[in-house]
Every structure is written in structure tokens, then in C-alpha cells.
């Protein structure tokens, strides 16, 4: 088992290597230290924090709900966080206010619970019910956000970018707060990983193994909502990171959450640093929102997963 843990540690130099690569990718002429360290570095750090938060949340949801099609984007957690952020924007609460993070977290947490309770027609929600409920919640919240954008045009351009997902001039204060929140949730997950393993057998079996399903679900919804809201506060809704990353890492490190949670955080960081670098450089000088890049990978991946599950089911 120690050998396995050492393998997870190898993700750290991989993340650093990707960051260095990203730092020196892009227009070279005129890219002095100001651009490299003043603009690119904070942006790379933001990509790492957001990727870590989303990768971690995806791994948590997939284990907790025994549902391989889960991630914060599909379950509506991200849309809930967005709605919280837009509500702040509407009521004049700045992103530097602690209330901003509180509202974003509340939105994420409420939307997750709403999806879960809508899906729970029987005692335990099925995979397809969860995905459908997530779509319903996301669509409704996104419609509210769109409505707001059309009504308050003065905010609209920045909000549209926020909605598509991307890294704008990353504010150091936001970066620091989000980084701490993601780190805190990953630590919480690393402490409670055993429960995700037994929840992967289903809630009923987990209950027979001595876990209290209501308490554990609440704890993990809170941890995943915290990490997701920290990510959304920085970069808006970046989809599918939380879906793809845990599936790939399960192939490398195995199914147990002992390694999967931490490795999904690191793998998410790695993935999003690379995706954002591609978004920044592929069509330079124009910039593609990173959410567009992840969706281009993510949607086909989702379909592949869906087909594979149908074959097994």
C-alpha cells in the first residue's frame, strides 16, 4: 500500500512541471517578468485551485452517490454556486466580502440537496434519476441567471464570461481564500475517506456496516459544496473536470478513496492548468473560455461513460 501512496506523490512534480510549462507558453516577445509572474502565475495558480476543487468534488460525489455520472456540474452544485454569486452581484455585495463566499457556498449546498431530494423518489436515488434531477436544477438556475443578465445589462459581459468559466485577472485575495477552502475540504475528505468506500457499495450496505447515512451524506455534501463554491468563486462554472479526472485516476490508483480523493485534487489541478494553457494559446491572441475547452473533452467523455454503463447494466 505504501508503494501506491508513493505513486500519488508523483502527481506533485507533474503539477509543478505543468505549471512551469504553462508559465512559458504563449507569446514570447514582450513577455517580460511582469507578464510571466504578474499575470500568468496567478492565473496558473487559480487554474490549479479550481481544478483541485472540482476534481475532489467529483470524486466525492461519485463515491457518495454510487454514481459514476456525477460531478458538481451535472448535479447542479456549480449552478447553485453561480446563482449565489449572481445574487451577490445583484445586491451589490462585492467579491471581497465574506458574505460573497457564504452566498456562493449556500447556493452550492442548497442546489445539491435539492437535486438529491428530487431524485429520491424511492429510498435510494437511481443513477438516472440523479442525473435528470441535476439537469432540471441546473437548467432552472441557469435560466434565472440568464434572466438576471438580461435585466441588468451593466454587469452582463463579465457575468457571461463567468458563466462560461474562465480565469480573468485573478485577484490575489480571492485566490488565497479559495485555495484555503479547497485545501480544507481535501483535508476533511482525506480524514473521512473510509466512508466513501463503503458508500460506494450503496447506502443500505453502508448503513449495515455501521455508518449513519444522513450524517455522512451531510458531511460530504458540505465538503464537496465547499470545494465547488471555492472553485466557482474564482472561475465561474467550468464543467466536466470533476467527471473526467476521478475516472482516469481510478484506472491508475484503484477505486479506494484513500488515494482517489487526494489524487483527484492533484489530477484536477494538472488537468485544468493544461486546459487553460490550451485555451489561452490555441487561438491567440483570442482567448477561448476554459469552460469551453473542458466541455469539448467532457461531453464526449460523458457519452462514452453512459454507453459503457448501459452495456454493463
Amino acid at each position: 500500500m505504501d508503494k501506491e501512496r508513493r505513486k500519488v506523490v508523483w502527481l506533485v512534480p507533474a503539477v509543478i512541471a505543468a505549471a512551469v510549462l504553462a508559465l512559458f507558453s504563449g507569446a514570447v516577445d514582450g513577455a517580460g517578468p511582469d507578464i510571466i509572474f504578474g499575470l500568468r502565475l496567478p492565473r496558473i495558480l487559480a487554474a490549479a485551485v479550481v481544478g483541485a476543487g472540482l476534481g475532489f468534488s467529483g470524486a466525492v460525489f461519485q463515491g457518495l452517490l454510487k454514481n459514476p455520472l456525477s460531478d458538481p456540474y451535472i448535479l447542479g452544485t456549480s449552478a447553485g454556486a453561480m446563482a449565489g454569486a449572481v445574487l451577490c452581484s445583484a445586491s451589490g455585495i462585492g467579491r471581497a466580502s465574506p458574505l460573497f463566499y457564504l452566498a456562493v457556498f449556500a447556493g452550492a449546498f442548497a442546489a445539491t440537496f435539492l437535486t438529491y431530494s428530487l431524485a429520491r423518489i424511492k429510498k435510494y436515488p437511481s443513477v438516472s434519476h440523479l442525473v435528470l434531477a441535476g439537469v432540471a436544477v441546473s437548467t432552472f438556475l441557469t435560466a434565472l441567471i440568464m434572466l438576471f443578465i438580461t435585466l441588468y445589462r451593466e454587469h452582463s459581459l463579465s457575468l457571461v464570461y463567468f458563466l462560461l468559466g474562465g480565469f480573468f485577472p485573478a485577484d490575489n485575495y480571492l485566490l488565497a481564500v479559495s485555495c484555503c477552502l479547497v485545501a480544507a475540504s481535501v483535508c476533511g475528505g482525506a480524514l473521512l475517506w473510509r466512508y466513501l468506500d463503503i458508500f460506494s457499495l450503496g447506502e443500505e450496505k453502508a448503513s449495515c456496516l455501521g455508518a449513519d447515512p444522513d450524517k455522512i451524506r451531510l458531511a460530504f455534501f458540505a465538503l464537496a459544496s465547499l470545494a465547488t463554491s471555492a472553485a466557482v468563486a474564482l472561475a465561474g462554472t467550468v464543467g466536466f473536470v470533476g467527471l473526467i479526472v476521478p475516472h482516469i485516476l481510478r484506472l491508475i490508483f484503484g477505486a479506494s478513496h484513500r488515494r482517489l480523493l487526494v489524487s483527484s485534487a492533484l489530477g484536477g489541478a494538472l488537468f485544468l492548468i493544461l486546459a487553460d494553457t490550451a485555451a489561452r494559446t490555441a487561438a491567440a491572441p483570442a482567448e477561448i473560455p476554459v469552460g469551453v475547452v473542458t466541455a469539448l473533452f467532457g461531453a464526449p467523455f460523458f457519452i462514452w461513460l453512459l454507453r459503457r454503463m448501459r452495456d454493463e447494466g
Binding site: N67, L192, G202, E204, K205, C208, G210, G254, S256, G313
Partner: protein, 252 residues
Amino acid sequence: MALIRAKNLKFSYNGVPAVAGVDFELLEKDFLAVIGPNGSGKSTLLRLISGVLEPSEGLVELLGRDVRSYPKTELARLVAYVPSEFYLPYDFSVFEIIMMGRSPYVAWWRNYSAADAARVGEVLSEVGIDKLRDRGINSLSSGERQLAFIAQALAQDPKVLLLDEPTSHLDINYKLQVFDLLSRLAGAGGLGVAVVSHDLALMAAYAGKSLVLKKGGGLFYGPAKEGLSGANIAAAYGISDPASVTRLLKIL
């Protein structure tokens, strides 16, 4: 003292009675066969005993105390439940699956200990699946997979072992392995084992006691010889010719 005592146990799903007034006991070293037609409430009965479901009426006592009065971790140290075959989306190793059985012994903030790993090692040998230790659970055959989940239940060090159709998808070799193991656990191990199964001939060969359910209520509780007789089975399943059942049981 009886490990499990069910008193006038009733349960209904949305007003439709699934278990209607069942009485029985499970003692140490008992191998109890629970049989009955589809929809007679066998699986529901196991869920009621394991505390997953709460009875609408009546009572399940575990060691003389209402099963609902136990904290979940304490209950998981006394009663282990192996559900019928279920879908598992992630490919845990057999070792990891069995280790999960140690959950009720580990405080929530701690990791599994070396002693837990040692216990998993013992259980692997006890069940005879040492070789499968590092295999992925979804790469196993149905029989191997079932043995792994029984091993997980054993890692809980329970006093009561409940199994829901443990042999339904297995070939005859694994069916015998599973029943041999279960009767060993009941006999030498001193556990109370209750098995729901449609393998009537195997149940008749291995079980000491039987609980025969019929739609709408218990039909018979007592020695397996009587419970699994042709006449009794025919009555429970609504078969018009008891002699044909007796003949079939003899052939198998």
C-alpha cells in the same frame, strides 16, 4: 439466550403487507433456511432483522433488546448482512472490499489498523480466497465475488449472519462451497446463520431449521426436515401436487 427473536413481525410497503405476522428465533449454531415464493417477504424479513427497515408492527429482539435500540456501529458488530448480487460501479480490490467489513470497529477519524489488516488476512484464509486478495472485485466470477462478500461480512466478526440468495447465480461447485462454508460458520464458528434461497435441495441438505413463508404470513417454523418436506413446500408455493416436489428434492 436467543440471538434473534422476532415477535409478530409485520411490515407493509405503502399499505401493501410484505411481512404479516412472523414469529421465529435464531440461536447460536443455528442454520436457518428461509424459503417461500417470490413476494412472500423473505428479503424484507432479512432487512427487518438487520435493522435497515423498521417493522410497522411487532418487534425484532437482538440478544434480548429491541434491534432499533442499538447504535449503528454496535449493531454492525453483531449482525452482518450479505445482500443479493448488486451492481458495483468501481473495481475495488478484494482486500479493500473485505477491509470495509472492519468499519464498525474503527473510530470515525481513524484509519484501519494493522490489526484490522491481520484480521482480513485471517478471513481470506478462512473463506479460502487468499489467492484473490489483490484481484479487482469486478474481474471475479460470480462465485468468487460471492465468497468475497461473505468474507466482508465475516470481517465484521458478527454473531448473526444474514444472506439473501447467496447462490442464485452460481454453478453447483460454488453453491456447495458457499453452503459448506456457511454450515461450518454455524457449526464450528457458533454463528447464527439465516439464508434466503430458492435452492431448496441444498437448503434441505444443510439447514437445521426452517422458516417457510407464504404470501401474507408465516406458514411454518421448525426443524428443516419438516419445513422442507414436499407437502410443506407445495403448500407454501401453491403447488397442487406435493408428490412431485418430494420426487424432485430426492433427485437433487
